[in-house]
């Protein structure tokens, strides 16, 4: 663990600011620990968050390290093609707003499976939904953990695996503590604080870059193109995805997974249960769209700013490569202190996201598998929450070990894979069960397992895992090549396949529609009659002002 020669900033500053964040959030989490007695408290924060609070927390949950560091870096190196990601990530929220959020809030209780299994056979459907939830959450978790390990090289000024392993372990332990002590309420507050810090940090840097350019976006773009080795091409689509017809189709495949994946991400769906009503769920999404949209506009400026203020050579030479563009830009603008703040924000980002993923995965196991399948719904709430806590510890340990093992891997694709699996395995079943009366158990199982398996199999046999030149695949030895699927992204095949299988399974099954259950689900989803209530009085500002769409 020798000090890296190309360290920027002072590690002591970075560590102190991060430690401050940890102390403050832990204090808040401990304050809320006493309010964690029932299952509704632990899983859904008592359903007492306002739409605005939940909208900010959703932004905190959604704007992962991939969003902040990844997109800014992708724009800094590839220009316009990096911007395409953020558009997919944003437009996706309209699916959640129009088709999913409110109906899900009214129908379910704690997990995605509550909705999927509402009128179908409990055991098999809940099991399938839980498997899919755990898969998506673990992929996402692993990507965040390895991201944390990679970040430490740049930010703490150390090279060498011991420090990286230690950082991954610290992130994992903190995540377990947040979830165990704070439950959903504590996790939500961590996400709210992180979202505020992240957006403020990005706003500060954005206005700094724009200010230097006389608030002229055209001149930012011009300077960026002039500084880039690819010149004007970075302002146009196609640097990364326009090379061949295959890369173009790959891009369309990615675009499908991004826009359809968000409304199938279990940790996003679970956040809708933390508000008292469908109206507040609607407010949540509106706030989230406003915050996330503005944030992605910031990353556009940050990316192009880093392109000329830092430069592609420096970014590529830094330990974190593409992920280091935003921190390097912070150092360029505001020196050691701003770098320290942005570094701490980046760690906070990872912590808040992994805590949200952990609580989702543990809720799914305890509520769907343990209580509903193993105990046939007879487990006491305290028993169920105890299992959820144990699961959170197990998942935390798995994430630590997995993160350490995978830290040298190219794992950026794991987030894209999580989106592809969510779009294939979860979204078709969610939409069918909400909107198609005839949909039945076989349709749900075929769609979930078909989407899940096809997405994973296609990834395993894609160039992402083997066959790319120059260490670009997961298996770095280029003589090992077993890929036969030409695309990096499976969505263009697996998403339509899952929709098709959901239809095929339904029409070939003789299971009769449970009219009463369907009526209950439909009435409940649209009117909120019989929906789960808040366990504590809602906050005073029940009628939140609408966020002003920017």
């Amino acid at each position: 663990m020798n000090l890296a020669a190309d360290t920027v900033g002072r590690p002591a500053v970075n560590i102190s600011i991060f430690a401050l964040f940890v102390v403050v959030t832990l204090a808040i989490v401990i304050r809320f620990s006493r309010a964690n007695r029932t299952a509704t408290d632990f899983y859904a924060g008592g359903r007492a968050f306002s739409g605005r609070q939940n909208g900010i927390a959703i932004s905190g949950d959604y704007l992962s390290a991939a969003s902040f560091l990844g997109i800014a870096g992708a724009i800094a190196l590839q220009g316009y093609d990096g911007f395409l990601y953020s558009i997919g990530f944003l437009v996706a929220w309209l699916v959640a707003l129009l088709l999913v959020a409110e109906l899900l809030r009214n129908t379910g209780r704690y997990t995605m499976a509550d909705v999927l299994s509402f009128r179908l056979r409990q055991g098999p459907v809940r099991t399938a939904a839980a498997i899919s939830t755990l898969t998506v959450s673990l992929f996402y978790l692993l990507a965040q953990m390895t991201g944390a390990g990679g970040l430490v090289n740049l930010l703490l000024g150390v090279k060498g695996t011991a420090w990286q392993d230690l950082t991954i372990a610290i992130v994992g332990v903190l995540m377990i503590v947040y979830v165990l002590v704070g439950g959903m309420k504590g996790t939500t507050w961590v996400q709210i604080i992180k979202a505020v810090l992240l957006v403020l940090g990005a706003a500060l840097m954005t206005f700094w870059v724009l200010g230097k350019a006389g608030f002229n976006l055209s001149s930012v773009l011009g300077d960026a193109a002039a500084a880039s080795p690819k010149k004007d091409a970075v302002l146009n689509p196609g640097v990364k995805y326009g090379l061949t017809t295959t890369t173009k189709i790959d891009f369309i495949s990615l675009a499908m997974a991004l826009v359809l994946g968000t409304a199938g991400l279990p940790h996003v769906l679970m956040r809708f249960y933390t508000v008292p009503s469908a109206i507040q769920a609607r407010r949540s999404v509106a706030w989230a769209i406003g915050i996330i949209g503005v944030f992605y506009l910031f990353t556009l400026v940050l990316g192009y700013g880093a392109m000329y203020l830092v430069g592609a050579d420096k970014i590529n030479a830094a330990p974190g490569k593409v992920n280091s563009a935003a921190p390097l830009l912070a150092f360029e603008l505001g020196g050691t202190l701003l770098l320290g703040i942005i570094a701490a924000v980046a760690f906070a980002t990872i912590l808040a996201v992994v805590a949200g993923l952990t609580i989702t995965a543990s809720a799914s196991f305890a509520h769907d598998v343990y209580n509903s399948v193993v105990k046939k719904g007879a487990a006491a709430p305290e028993q169920e929450v105890r299992v959820a806590r144990i699961t959170a510890v197990v998942i935390g340990l798995v994430a630590i070990v997995g993160g350490i093992l995978a830290k040298d891997q190219n794992v950026a694709f794991l987030v894209a894979l999580a989106f592809a699996v969510a779009a294939s395995a979860n979204l078709p079943t969610i939409l069918y069960s909400l909107f198609w009366k005839r949909f039945n158990t076989r349709g749900a199982l075929w769609s979930i397992y078909g989407g899940l398996i096809s997405a994973i199999v296609l990834i395993v046999f894609s160039p992402v895992v083997s066959g790319k030149a120059a260490n670009a695949s997961m298996i770095k030895d280029s003589s090992v090549d077993f890929h036969w699927f030409p695309l990096d992204n499976p969505g263009i095949v697996s998403i339509p396949l899952a929709f098709f299988l959901g239809w095929l399974g339904t029409v070939t099954s003789r299971e009769r529609v449970d009219e009463a259950k369907y009526a209950e689900m439909e009435v409940r989803s649209l009117t909120g009659a019989g929906a789960e209530r808040a366990t504590v009085p809602p906050p005073r500002s029940e009628e939140d002002a609408l966020p002003e769409p920017v």
Partner: protein, 131 residues
């Protein structure tokens, strides 16, 4: 196939068809039919619209690079305007939906909920989670 069971541990109050107005009665009422029709008439075309607009953008970015690269002023090109247009359309659709839902969806939905819960209270004592 009599394996369809009501969800264990999830049983909502008043789910049975006995006693006061059942979910089935309410679902078959003309008022509910109108609510459902109104909701679907708004969200389905809107979803089709934004998905078509999004995929138009994606296809143009992939296959019409020279069109997207056309500069319209300074270093601002068509592609950037299209991209920012996606942001704008997302914000506008959000605002339009929230406004519509607040004005049209909520009054109808809460009237039906009040009616349903009112008849439930006359019969068995209903509630959310009894805690």
């Amino acid at each position: 196939m009599s394996t369809i069971q009501s969800s264990p541990g999830e049983a909502a109050p008043g789910a049975s068809a006995s006693g006061p107005e059942s979910y089935l009665d309410l679902q078959r009422s003309p008022e509910f039919g109108e609510l459902r029709r109104g909701f679907r008439r708004f969200v389905f075309p809107m979803t089709a619209l934004f998905l078509a607009w999004y995929f138009l953008y994606v296809l143009l970015a992939a296959f019409a690079s020279s069109f997207m690269s056309h500069k319209v002023g300074g270093n601002i090109n068509v592609g950037l305007l299209f991209g920012l247009g996606q942001f704008l359309s997302t914000f506008v659709i959000t605002a339009v939906y929230v406004r519509w839902a607040d004005r049209r969806l909520d009054p109808a939905a809460s009237a039906l909920r009040a009616r349903f819960e009112g008849t439930q209270l006359e019969g068995t004592q209903a509630g959310g989670e009894a805690r």
